[in-house]
Symmetry: C2
Subunit: 733 residues, 2 copies
Amino acid sequence: MMMIVRNIPIFAIIMIGAIMFSPYKSIAQEQKAEATWIWYPGDYEIWLSNKMQARRTERGAFLPPLWRYYSPYALVTFKKDFELDEPDEITIATEGDFKLQLDGKLIHGRSKTLQVPSGKHSIVIKVYNQEAVPALYIQGNRLVTDHTWEVTFEDKEWIDETGKASDQSGTNWETVGSWNFDNAEEKPSLFKLETTPQYATSVKDAGKGQLIDFGKETFGYIRFHGLKGTGNISLYYGESEQEALDAEFCETLDELTFDGSQASEVTLENSMAFRYVQIQADQSIEYDSVSMLYEYLPVTYHGKFKSSDELLNEIWDVSAYTMHLNTREFFLDGIKRDRWIWSGDAYQSYLMNYYLFFDNESVKRTLLALRGKEPVASHLNTIMDYSLYWFIGIYDYYLFSGDEDFIKNFYPRMVSLMDFCLDRRNESGMMEGLPGDWIFIDWADGLSKEGEVSFEQLLLARSLEAMALSAEIAGDQEGKEKYQILADALRDKLFEVFWSEEKKALMHQRVDGEVLDTITRYANMFAIFFDYFSDEQKNAVKEHVLLNEEIQKITTPYMRFYELEALCAMGEQAFVLEEIRDYWGGMLDLGATSFWEKYDPQESGEEHLEMYGRPYGKSLCHAWGASPIYLFGKYYLGVKPTSPGYENYVIEPHLAGLEWMEGEVPTPFGNISLSISMAEIKVHSAGGQGTLTIKSKTKPISNTAEVVAMGEDVYELKITPETKHQITYTSFQ
Amino acid sequence: MMMIVRNIPIFAIIMIGAIMFSPYKSIAQEQKAEATWIWYPGDYEIWLSNKMQARRTERGAFLPPLWRYYSPYALVTFKKDFELDEPDEITIATEGDFKLQLDGKLIHGRSKTLQVPSGKHSIVIKVYNQEAVPALYIQGNRLVTDHTWEVTFEDKEWIDETGKASDQSGTNWETVGSWNFDNAEEKPSLFKLETTPQYATSVKDAGKGQLIDFGKETFGYIRFHGLKGTGNISLYYGESEQEALDAEFCETLDELTFDGSQASEVTLENSMAFRYVQIQADQSIEYDSVSMLYEYLPVTYHGKFKSSDELLNEIWDVSAYTMHLNTREFFLDGIKRDRWIWSGDAYQSYLMNYYLFFDNESVKRTLLALRGKEPVASHLNTIMDYSLYWFIGIYDYYLFSGDEDFIKNFYPRMVSLMDFCLDRRNESGMMEGLPGDWIFIDWADGLSKEGEVSFEQLLLARSLEAMALSAEIAGDQEGKEKYQILADALRDKLFEVFWSEEKKALMHQRVDGEVLDTITRYANMFAIFFDYFSDEQKNAVKEHVLLNEEIQKITTPYMRFYELEALCAMGEQAFVLEEIRDYWGGMLDLGATSFWEKYDPQESGEEHLEMYGRPYGKSLCHAWGASPIYLFGKYYLGVKPTSPGYENYVIEPHLAGLEWMEGEVPTPFGNISLSISMAEIKVHSAGGQGTLTIKSKTKPISNTAEVVAMGEDVYELKITPETKHQITYTSFQ
């Protein structure tokens, strides 16, 4: 049985948009030797993220990020050595002025076409652009710009008195960056997200103006139709009705002035996040109606989930929508307020993305924007934990995508960030907060970040493991050994210092050489799914920490993500499902159309909207609120890769009390489709070697593969690609 | 006696230009608490130099520098703590979007004015601009943007869950950069050099078109008057008539197409260096006449020189004009071809500038543009010697200007460049060429740059002395000691390895542990004016190297600069004057209106125009050709500072056979005016304590100060400021 195609209007619109207007190519198309715009790796991502993150406003004030901005190189040199069987005519498009050398000879003039005779050649093109990113697009019958080109920001090409070029320039050539700008006219600097019209679901008079409701959380540009007259219009945006109606305290607003010369159709310049907008217009100005242009990244919903529980289905759908709203030029934290890229938030988006869009480009863009370039002078987003999530994000990206090129190309930037981290260790080899380091961990009342925090050491240990793995891929054998030794030593130290045999927990921190008598959930839950505990420790931690009501509770969806993951990793799917119903269901009960930055069931009324001491400070559409996507895919449908790029993977379904569930999990080969009931599992996979684990009271019967008993009531069978597997069994435990 | 004002048309035009149009302020005006545009230090210089250096073309092709471009920060934060006696209203102008916080509180909206109540305040303004340099201008009655503000590219200002800002951010605040943009409308990104019209001195038919002669080397934009019709016009520029007439090989050209819609007055977009231009127009297009807009930096000719020898006067005048043509947004190497900033060339411009414009801003701009920012990945201009000249340039800048602020503000960039250099030493503690290092020294046939070159070690030693001095000014006592020890050790090593007691010379190089049997002039002449030799060594080197015809001769004005300086430092002014008459006089005999990149009296005809294997490759207006300005001021008028900023200085005049000379030497206090004949010296100084040394057969008679005998025929007297000193004596030796 294959998935039923659900009919959710907004998704349908997006998918049509993607087909009709999108520059995105299918993998099959990408593999053709077509030309694409190329640039210095990471520079476009830096430039675009600088622009995007400067779009935050607070009550009309411009509010850029609090961390440093990196800059693209203004002058770069591209090159390629190639051989032609027959002559080629190439056309050259650049963003910026360019200098072209063919076989070491400068081509005079500024012609955009060039005849290249057959034979071996070397082409070198310098591009200068100080306003946007220097970029190059060459289209010939044979020669095209693609990922095989190299680039440098310093070609060190000098000449002697006779005009002869140096033959030992020491230039460091790197592989170019590119995305999906595959036409000469499609200049990278012109990139904009897609848009499609959306209309109000209700309009009513309110206070001094009108309150327009778009029916659900959305993002885009307000449009006026039939606008005439002169005067001012004020717009007060709200993720909640209360916020839109509160002209004095709403977080975002627009103040417009019209002199009568405007067109009758006006689309605002600023995109905003809102469900409601209150419009106050002078009497001297009129309009017929208000709509909006919804703005989005055209991505495909590869991942799917549906079950016998309609509440869970709604939670999955709203999670997917929340995730999509925050998946834009880059993975955002939230769409109303920050509109920034936070490494900790993005890390969760990467994971959710693997079970929804499987859009590697969004992961890579975000990793590159976060990392910036040299020199490293502070942690990513200034936060220590956020530097470390970046490494772990690459570790995971490799596991899910199998993309070795990304690691090979950016390994030097991994090394320099890790050097920065290692340089900040204390004499015990641990990282603690130095001036300029923000230790975040979580938003939690009274959470101490002083001294050596076990959670940070845990992230560092995993980051060092990511470095060892990446060093090997990048061919740095010495680095691999160095990082592995450091990782092992830190793991040992972590347990030596923080593990309490009495408390059955990793303690929270050590200050001035004394381990304090505090336990938090953070290090303990990460150590579970990092597999740092023995089975005995795991079970003890589950009882003494995870399920212990006396340990401070987690209130942010951000850390709920990991808490629930840890519980799932311990087989507590049934318990977690109840938690999901309560927590995410609780938000839906309060009318949420996207999931929030924080939810506390103890609060009531407008308390739910408040945060950071501001009445509407809380984001009601926050990426980290979408974690059910990840949990359902990985721990209920139960699909996860066990070797890079899903070459090998496992399926360990957990109905956890549901009658049935069905869904799809994307992989680099295509989707794995699953349909699971109390009596039957159907599986179809597009590639990779899978192992399905089934818990059954009796030996399951398969139409394809051999079923192997693995222990009491546990069976395995191999899932081969392009095969319709159908297994019947006796209902799960 | 004061200087006669000479009447040289081009200079007169410039000085009028400076008075009428220039934004440049007198020192007195600068000292007033007026508002000025501010930015992150060095970033404007980087941005402007990126633009300027990308204006080189070669036969219509774009030709940017071969070294790396740095980028400004796109997001910076300015701040100032201040106290107001009474309320102030400030107006805010920025280049880019801005965020304003007063006393920690975000000001909503985007108002360009703000009421600030009396009392203590802290103002913090973030500015974002990815196209140009983020810059800020605030004008209030009390609060203004000026050099007292601070700035950072990373303010690390984070908040906790309650919205409370961190109190240990570790932000590194630096002193802002500024220049002379003192009005809100005068935005730094709009900066352009001044222009003034110039007209042809002759027009004649030539080949397929017209040859226009502007009478002398010039720089600017060709203008067509009375242009009509449709079709193409080709312009072939020439520093020589031959070049302009050679459409096939001239170095620069313009190809224009007109569709008939053009205005009758058309000024070209590209500025070019030329004396001649050949114009070939289609028959379908007509124009009445051609003129040009001369483009220049408005600077004042503070330094002056005139003598009884008209040839020398012309050499000084043409040198000053050559220097002015190359003193633009930054100190250029040459105006026709490179239009780039080369550290070695610029180093000489700094020195010449101290005896002509005394324009500290041009020195600082050039030093900052050359240095760029972190991380250092290669030598300045990729050339090892050019990194080292940068340090020595700062050493000299401090001596002449006394500007400690510059060193304090940029000491960290000195340290990081020196770290780069020190990291590249070999196991003997010497620098030799590694892959990526260009060892330049000089354009000279067969000059070997292999192994350890004594000249490079000499520059490194001096650079280390500059670091020790700068460390002390910057308050880095540990650094001072470290650099002094390194400098002393390297000087010892230099003599231990390279000094040949047999040859009475520093040998040229050591390769694979063997000192080769080669002597060049470079290290030997620098060691003279660096005062690294004993008197005995100096005299021996003069005989065995400097005046030894068998040692390879120097043919570039670049190294002639130092050779003649070394001879002057040895008292060989009379000999050098003959050399100047021959060498620079030789160029004038060939019709030079500005001095050349290279001159070889042995060549003839068009050989003089050729270089780098190209018939017109040679620059006929090259900054390093202007060295007589420096030599006449420092070694004939004989004025040089002996403590920073001319607090103390010496005057050691050398008539060297001239009947008389008179001139002015600028200092931070104003000019030192001198009139010197065989019988009398008149001196007037605006500040500092001077010591005049006179060689006389009898004891000189002074109208002011006591004359003290210092040895046989040598007398000294003190020059006090604002005093008309007049000394009579018996003619010089």
